[in-house]
Subunit: 284 residues, 2 copies
């Protein structure tokens, strides 16, 4: 926990009130009927805020949760209240379908709940920007187009995949789907550069479409680098020239070792790292 | 809500304390990292209590949640406190992995949380014991042997399947897996009788192994009726001589209409209904 973190402020707001517990009847707990976002607070700015709000809205729509149009500005106010003078941290926003009865059927009127929590920025080793060691998980992600791409609250797949290693020298584990195709890391998206083309797994059947993943794909477009969403095996990914991981909190970590194989941080990876630095420092 | 329900008593205990809200940092909410049971309270007895406790224990083991050996007797005491003089109702027990940080990795020591809630018995139309109308859902369950069979808190599949109909005349929807094989109802298990053999979907890849499903399979054994766990399509199931649904709260509902097709309550279905009546009335 960062020592600069001002502990006097409330750390969680539920529907705008300082509170840190939720009704046990909430469908978020009962069924995982909800979505969440993890947003980087950097130099007092909320990085890619609009994109996070858009994904939250889309997730709510897919799960039949009413998210009022003005909720984005409401959430922004609440986040600013929570942050106070803090300039660095991680904001987690959960929207649940609210309290229901005991059955799976949603009540006729959904009274969605919003939970906003401020966490200190996790203290990862500084050298992760130079490269990380990763492994391949044995756990396989099921194919489910109706839930694919979404950051919903049903995350047992990630919990079980992440439980495969305890060694803190391992930064991430890569997970395949039940067909053996690479999907993502347990908490990050995977990118490869091969013969001058940017590759990342297609997420139509499984996985979470990260906001930082979108930013990388758009950046590739902006710099004229061809990108493709692909369905490839672990062995095929390991033939790449460069490999890296992204998420909204870590930014970008180059991969320097994947299972037994060594990789080197390449030029294209450096270009994306610089773009993320720019995003974090200048907000563009 | 049943009018005989004594509203003065607490309705929820968390870790034995009267309380109806849970920390938002709980992994049950964040990831659905937990399991639950729904137990019938009938004539003051907790039906198939030991079996429910056993499934709870097995689910916790599969999800890396520490469930102390004495927890069964602890839960029993808490349930009896909640029930007071109430003789009829539904007990829901949730065990979560407890509070963790922001990541998928479980903390080194899991401080599991237990939530016990008493609900009134749902008031289904009385004629459902004579037969119900059901539909086939479009939603497909993903194949995931690591989670199959378990009553865990990741239930978006059931929420989305159940959202396909609002007509209260439809009692249940049958859901297939992504391979097109029948798995279960959204809240019940499916049985068929065909040529004197009891059939029910194999649940090694998807679905919840209901406690009442186990009771039916054991009852079949006890009365010398052959049973098989099978992988069949909707059309194949519809060729059965008898069809019925089970769960711990409803007991058994014969199927009288499935999509466009009419069915009739058969003799074998009646035998199982009688056994469940006996279980509820005499506890054997």
């Amino acid at each position: 926990v960062s020592s600069s973190f001002s502990s006097a402020l409330p750390k969680t707001l539920i529907n705008g009130e300082s509170c840190d517990s939720l009704a046990v009847s909430d469908r978020g707990l009962a069924y995982g009927h909800g979505v969440f976002e993890t947003i980087r607070l950097c130099q007092g700015r909320l990085v890619l805020w609009e994109q996070h709000m858009q994904r939250l809205q889309q997730g709510c729509e897919r799960l039949g949760i009413d998210m009022p149009k003005h909720l984005g500005s409401e959430l922004m106010k609440e986040v600013l209240r929570l942050c106070g003078q803090d300039a660095e941290g991680v904001i987690k926003i959960i929207i649940t379908a609210g309290s229901g009865g005991r059955g799976y059927a949603s009540p006729p009127v959904i009274d969605s709940q919003r939970i906003v929590t401020l966490f200190p920025l996790p203290e990862y080793p500084a050298d992760r920007a130079e490269g990380v060691d990763i492994i391949t998980c044995n756990y396989r992600l099921p194919l489910n187009p109706k839930l694919a791409g979404m950051k919903h609250l049903n995350r047992l797949d990630q919990v079980l995949a992440r439980a495969e290693w305890q060694d803190t020298a391992i930064a991430e584990g890569i997970v395949c789907d039940t067909d053996g195709m690479v999907v993502e890391g347990t908490m990050s998206n995977l990118f490869a550069v091969k013969n001058g083309v940017l590759l990342t797994p297609d997420l139509e059947q499984a996985g979470v479409k990260g906001i930082m993943r979108d930013f990388i794909l758009q950046s590739a477009d902006a710099i004229g680098l061809e990108s493709r969403e692909v369905s490839l095996t672990i062995d095929e990914f390991k033939q790449a020239d460069e490999l890296f991981l992204t998420n909204s909190v870590i930014g970008l970590w180059p991969i320097k070792q994947w299972d037994e194989q060594r990789f080197y941080k390449g030029l294209t990876t450096g270009v994306f790292q610089a773009r993320i630095e720019q995003l974090l420092n200048e907000g563009s």
